[in-house]
């Protein structure tokens, strides 16, 4: 074999081995475990805590209110929909939940809008329907 070819061959081998060493060093742990990504990323995506704890958690202490609600029109509504996420409240009941009582809050669902399906929800003209009063003075939210 001519000397220049031999040298080229050695150079080639060195470059190829450098490539493999770099590939080994730069590929993160668990890459390619399930596909072209880090397998650990699946676990990382699943670790953080849930903030909305679900109505099942509410029943444990507030059974009477939950029962009341299931008999009314708001039965499909999750407790946390109006009261906000309950993860802090579950840990310590000192952490109070939200008690929204503004007309605007009720209007998010019940103000007349042509796009709302008429049979799905009761709608009112928010300007016309007792404009000065809070909704909750006549309508009890758990059994509206």
């Amino acid at each position: 074999m001519p000397i220049q070819l031999k040298r080229l061959l050695i150079l080639g081998l060195v470059l190829v081995s450098i490539f493999f060493v770099l590939k080994y060093l730069l590929t993160p742990e668990s890459f390619g475990q399930y596909g072209h990504y880090r397998g650990n990323a699946l676990v990382e995506n699943a670790t953080h805590d849930a903030k909305y704890v679900g109505s099942e958690a509410c029943v444990e202490c507030h059974e009477d209110i939950v029962e009341e609600k299931t008999e009314g029109f708001h039965n499909t509504l999750a407790c946390e929909n109006c009261h906000g996420p309950g993860y802090m409240h579950v840990l310590d009941s000192e952490n109070e939940l939200q008690m929204p009582d503004s007309r605007e809050f009720c209007a998010k669902c019940h103000a007349y809008n042509r796009a709302r399906p008429a049979n799905a929800i009761t709608q009112i003209d928010i300007e016309d329907h007792n404009p000065e009063e809070k909704c909750i003075e006549c309508h009890y939210p758990h059994q509206p």
Partner: protein, 255 residues
């Protein structure tokens, strides 16, 4: 002399026919080219495979989904970033279409067009379609975004380099660059909740149960039954993204 020529052309004819028939037979045995299969078929797999369905006929546009998503996933309130949001479509009598989404629908909607000018109007909740042929996954140069084995498109936030290529690639506008981490962020179908046995926050907080998520591979799941019994449609089917978000009663004006 003449006989010899005839013999030669007969031999040539038999030879050529043999090659043709042989190659046709061989080609029929070899499986079709993968790219064609990829573009036309669903992946053959067993086990959990998440999909979503949204019933437009039930959506009242309260914005609970958008609000609970922001709270559950620490999506920045400002600027205008959403993993899940609601749009109001209004088709006017003259045929023009108006689309509004004030703060993603979180503060509710006020009708922008008077009743007598409206042909029809409806709400369209939007979120990541969790496509199985995701453009966003295909363009990622480092493998930081991927489809999980159970069919949820996720971002590896420690590995993402923030090149924004996926933000540009998503035809549904479902991705953004997080202002504090500076990497791509998107709907994870509340992967952390799914793994704890809970439903995604937007589904749990929908007052009219207009949103369902579930297992597409299970023919008995609520989702599979919903898809079977209704006229469902995906957004931008011509883009062949393999969207797994099925809408009931989707109007053709929706983009």
């Amino acid at each position: 002399m003449r006989n010899k020529e005839e013999n030669l052309s007969r031999r040539r004819f038999i030879k050529k026919s043999g090659i043709t028939v042989g190659s046709v037979l061989a080609a029929s045995v070899i499986p079709s080219f993968n790219a064609v299969l990829f573009a036309s078929e669903k992946p053959k797999g067993k086990g959990l495979w998440y999909g979503i369905a949204i019933d437009i006929e039930k959506c009242i546009g309260c914005g609970s989904c958008a609000k609970s998503c922001k709270i559950e996933n620490d999506v920045p309130e400002e600027p205008f970033f959403f993993r899940s949001w609601v749009e109001q479509y209004t088709i006017k009598n003259d045929g023009s279409v108006e689309v509004v989404s004030p703060n993603g629908g979180i503060d509710g909607f006020t009708q922008t067009v008077p009743d007598d000018e409206i042909e029809k109007s409806f709400f369209v909740p939007k979120m990541c379609n969790h496509c199985y042929k995701s453009p966003c996954v295909q363009v990622c140069p480092v493998g930081a975004t991927f489809e999980s084995p159970d069919g949820v498109v996720l971002v590896d936030q420690t590995y993402c380099i923030g090149c924004k290529y996926c933000v540009q690639a998503c035809p549904y506008g479902c991705r953004y660059i997080h202002p504090t981490t500076h990497v791509a962020d998107k709907c994870t179908l509340c992967y952390h909740r799914l793994k704890k046995g809970l439903n995604p926050a937007c589904m749990d907080n929908c007052p009219t149960t207009a949103r369902i998520s579930g297992d597409l591979n299970d023919p008995e799941s609520e989702l599979s039954k919903f898809i079977k019994t209704r006229n469902v449609y995906v957004l931008k089917p011509h883009l062949n993204t393999g969207s797994k978000l099925f809408y009931n009663a989707l109007n053709q004006e929706v983009r």
